[in-house]
């Protein structure tokens, strides 16, 4: 009879329990991942963190490239790194390396066949993908002569040519220009209709555009793991920032500055609106109408902004550091 725990991890695309990675031994050892627990449900899951947070080490443990020091990780219930688990995944590393002596078409066929695909099907699919990525003319060229963008495309195509259940992408947009990034985000969204995608990045705006759920990691520890919607809701309620726009912002700001519960107030150079960081939200909301009347100015807008993932991320990092 299967244990409750075993049944639990079978319900998730990715499941980790106290996952730990220590490099080296003794005094010189470095704990890169410190017993992390997170789960990934079907969909697109973002894995966020600053450089050196432990993202790549976690991914490398999931694909079986590096050993797990302690804890465990499962991919659809299969032990991460096992051949059975690797049958389910597609993987694009942070800096994909290629056999420069191979032509693009042969490389894709080789990768598809390594995953068990028959040669004719692999060839057919390789050509369709090359066409999709507008690389028909480059398919007979050696990869060593490809541009950075072309290499990224061929790497991405190779990662899902065999139709994996879960696609793991480690910083896929890192080497792309803004247009390339936009196209990639579109593609990832399209691919997510057929497979779950686990994508790591430190570019928050991209994660916000792509992902349903997110796990934030810092210094090898999970800071938060939830849906982006829940995280935003929670942090918007806890924020003390207000934005005020009136017919004469320069006039009213002088009175706001005098309030003793205001920590910071400024006029944004771009938007020309007043940003107020208040220690007492209720008092501020009560006093604003009085100040409007007193200064005889018209109210255009007064609201608490929704935090972007970037604001939340920065706040979380600050909290974690302190």
């Amino acid at each position: 009879m299967e244990s409750e725990q075993a049944l639990n991890f079978k319900n998730f695309e990715i499941w980790t329990h106290e996952l730990t990675k220590v490099y080296g031994r003794g005094n010189k050892s470095i704990k890169a991942v410190k017993g992390i627990n997170f789960v990934m449900n079907p969909g697109i899951h973002g894995f966020l963190g600053p450089n050196g947070a432990g993202k790549t080490s976690t991914i490398n443990m999931l694909i079986g490239a590096i050993s797990i020091t302690k804890g465990e990780a499962k991919i659809r219930g299969k032990e991460a790194g096992s051949v059975e688990a690797r049958k389910l995944i597609g993987f694009l590393p942070q800096d994909p390396a290629f056999y420069d002596y191979m032509i693009g078409e042969d490389y894709l066929i080789f990768k598809a066949q390594l995953s068990g695909m028959h040669k004719n099907e692999a060839k057919e699919k390789a050509n369709e993908l090359l066409k999709h990525f507008e690389m028909d003319t480059a398919k007979a060229r050696k990869i060593g002569k490809y541009s950075g963008g072309e290499k990224q495309k061929i790497g991405l195509a190779a990662s899902f040519i065999h139709n994996p259940e879960i696609l793991i992408l480690d910083e896929p947009t890192a080497n792309l220009d803004p247009i390339g990034r936009g196209n990639l985000i579109k593609l990832i969204k399209e691919l997510s209709k057929d497979m779950s995608i686990f994508v790591s990045s430190h570019v928050l705006s991209e994660i916000e555009q792509m992902c349903d759920t997110v796990t934030i990691i810092n210094k090898g520890e999970i800071i938060i793991t939830d849906s982006i919607k829940n995280i935003k809701n929670f942090y918007s309620k806890t924020t003390n920032l207000h934005i005020l726009d009136t017919s004469s912002n320069e006039k009213i700001i002088q009175d706001i500055e005098k309030l003793d519960y205001i920590s910071r107030v400024w006029i944004d150079e771009k938007e020309k609106k007043i940003y107020i960081d208040s220690e007492d939200t209720e008092k501020l909301q009560e006093i604003i109408p009085t100040l409007l009347v007193k200064n005889r100015v018209l109210l255009k807008s007064f609201y608490q902004p929704e935090s972007s993932l970037q604001d939340i991320f920065i706040e979380l990092m600050k909290e974690d550091d302190s």
Partner: protein, 309 residues
């Protein structure tokens, strides 16, 4: 373009090991230029020997085996073939790890043992292929010049010997290839072993086997250097192969075996006597055990090591 249609194509299976074997053989080992140069280097000295020798100098069939076999064993297989195998095997694992291609390879559903196994088998196949080609070339040109010579025995003896050399240096180097990140580091120790054993130590071995004063034990025997002498063990197995194929050891080959410590000259009886430090079977077992040990170390290390860029 509908990506869904792309991701739902058939699932007919092929073995990833076979695919990796084919890729390693075709792209990493067998390139026309590399193959051509390998065969040219391997046949160079024996072919010069065949060209220089006059048919009248080869009245007996075994004289051909002794004379040309001498060049084939020492030059073609012990030195050139070993070095070709070492420099072919060294990048097979290490270069993939260094360049980062191993990272995507191990994310595929193929076990690490199968990765190293596929590459090792591709190396063995390539080695066997160039060994066969070189021996066919040497045998045919010998047959052309000396029609009476028994080339089939010559071919079989040296093919079997080349397999042993291939196993030893292929295993040793592929084991180092799993440990070192740079191919040149992986090739260094095996190449030093070849140069030391077949160029440097061979020049001194006979000297170390002399007794400079009556009753004095030669250094080679006193310190039992034969235990560690790869050249001795390889020649001992060559002796076994020759004996198995042609039943007797031709007297013309004694001088050749003396170079490797299988015979020594007795100044009292003025005759060559067999040293018998190891039985030929004993040397064969020792070499095969060493080969397996190298392979197991390589597999074990590769299985355990972290692969990252």
């Amino acid at each position: 373009m509908n990506l869904k249609s792309l991701t739902k194509l058939g699932k007919e299976k092929v073995s990833p090991s076979w695919i990796l074997f084919k890729k390693t053989f075709t792209f990493n080992l067998f390139t026309p230029l590399k193959f051509l140069l390998s065969v040219i280097f391997m046949i160079l000295i024996p072919e010069i020997g065949i060209l220089i020798l006059n048919p009248i100098d080869i009245p007996l069939e075994y004289q051909f085996l002794s004379l040309i076999g001498y060049f084939v064993v020492i030059f073609t297989f012990n030195i050139i073939f070993s070095l070709i195998m070492i420099f072919s095997a060294a990048p097979l694992i290490s270069d993939e790890i260094r360049s980062g291609t191993m990272l995507t390879l191990i994310s595929k559903p193929i076990s690490r043992i199968k990765i190293i196994g596929s590459k090792y088998l591709a190396l063995l196949s390539y080695g066997l292929f160039i060994s066969c080609c070189s021996l066919v070339f040497i045998s045919l040109s010998a047959l052309f010049k000396f029609p009476a010579v028994e080339v089939f025995q010559f071919f079989i003896i040296h093919l079997l010997y080349s397999i042993l050399v291939l196993f030893i240096f292929g295993s040793l180097t592929i084991s180092f290839s799993t440990i070192f990140k740079k191919p040149r580091n992986a090739a260094l120790i095996p190449a030093v072993v070849v140069v030391f054993t077949f160029l440097i130590f061979m020049s001194f071995r006979s000297m170390l086997m002399w007794s400079f004063e009556p009753g004095e034990m030669p250094i080679y025997e006193k310190y039992q250097l034969y235990h560690f002498d790869l050249g001795y063990h390889l020649a001992n197995v060559y002796y076994l192969i020759v004996e198995s194929i042609i039943s007797i050891i031709p007297t013309e080959m004694v001088f050749f075996f003396e170079l490797f410590g299988l015979y020594k000259f007795d100044f009292n009886s003025l005759e060559y006597t067999q040293t018998n430090y190891y039985s030929p079977i004993g040397s064969l077992i020792l070499l095969l055990v060493l080969t397996v040990i190298f392979l197991v170390i390589g597999i074990f290390y590769f299985k355990k090591r972290d692969i990252s860029i």
